[in-house]
Subunit: 156 residues, 2 copies
């Protein structure tokens, strides 16, 4: 049951409810190319680099760490594309993911950690690929962002 | 200890780590005015309307619900201003909050639920007020957004 509201009450009331898990994903762009990874773990398939955010961490720091681990690139975050919270977006559990747009500042692309592989694709290839989670929707939003900026979410 | 990475492994590994709690806040704007609430619960003080996001919920729906409960306004979300994840931003626990910019579509401002009061302030008053959590930083980012758009986060 979804409670009517649960913001301001005592801490014991706040913790009664379960919260979605928080992840973060990164679109690393360079001209007309972005970096895509092939996931090593289930669900297997193509994805943006990203990962879970742990308690105590800054979202923006976790984004940079995951980009480095999975693509070997040092990146700099430029903008927030949006935030995706559809409870069906991840088959494992309810995850909410903000998506940053970043630029590479050092290194060569090489898969690592949870990424079996990592590589550049041309943005024209986005439409013809399948991606895990809701990453296709996110990347299609990114194509809109390239044309007219704006911010995006699951139901927009 | 912050794990090196914990994205892709089996679900039992993912759930080993604690995640921050997710909240959502809303800047309701109309011309040069925005709606501010006076919190009924601790920490007491001025704030943007907002609240915790529960498992299974869409962030954007929770934003609209909290705006309605705390300000009595029906709102429409326009853009995402940013996302704030500094672990010190909320004295109660580590919360991460995306902030939406919205416009009122129906109703008159009246405090309700966790808001003891709700009222319009001119954006020129933001600088001279104190706010709870990191809401002053968020609202100063909003003033930047009005001038040059962009997206914002805790360390930007």
């Amino acid at each position: 049951m979804v409670p009517r509201s649960n913001r301001g009450g005592p801490i014991r009331d706040i913790m009664k409810y379960k919260h979605p898990a928080l992840t973060v994903d990164v679109i690393i762009e360079n001209g007309d190319e972005i970096v895509i990874i092939k996931r090593k773990n289930k669900p297997k398939g193509l994805a943006m680099p990203g990962g879970f955010v742990n308690e105590g961490e800054l979202l923006e720091e976790r984004a940079i760490i995951e980009a480095k681990e999975e693509t070997s690139l040092d990146v700099e975050l430029k903008e927030l594309l949006g935030i995706y919270s559809d409870s069906k977006r991840d088959p494992r559990l309810h995850t909410v993911t903000p998506v940053f747009i970043a630029k590479p500042v050092w290194g060569h692309v090489k898969g690592g950690d949870d990424a079996a592989d990592a590589f550049w694709i041309n943005i024209n290839e986005i439409k013809s690929h399948e991606f895990v989670f809701d990453h296709k929707k996110v990347l299609l939003d990114y194509l809109k962002w390239r044309k007219k900026k704006g911010t995006y979410w699951s139901t927009k």
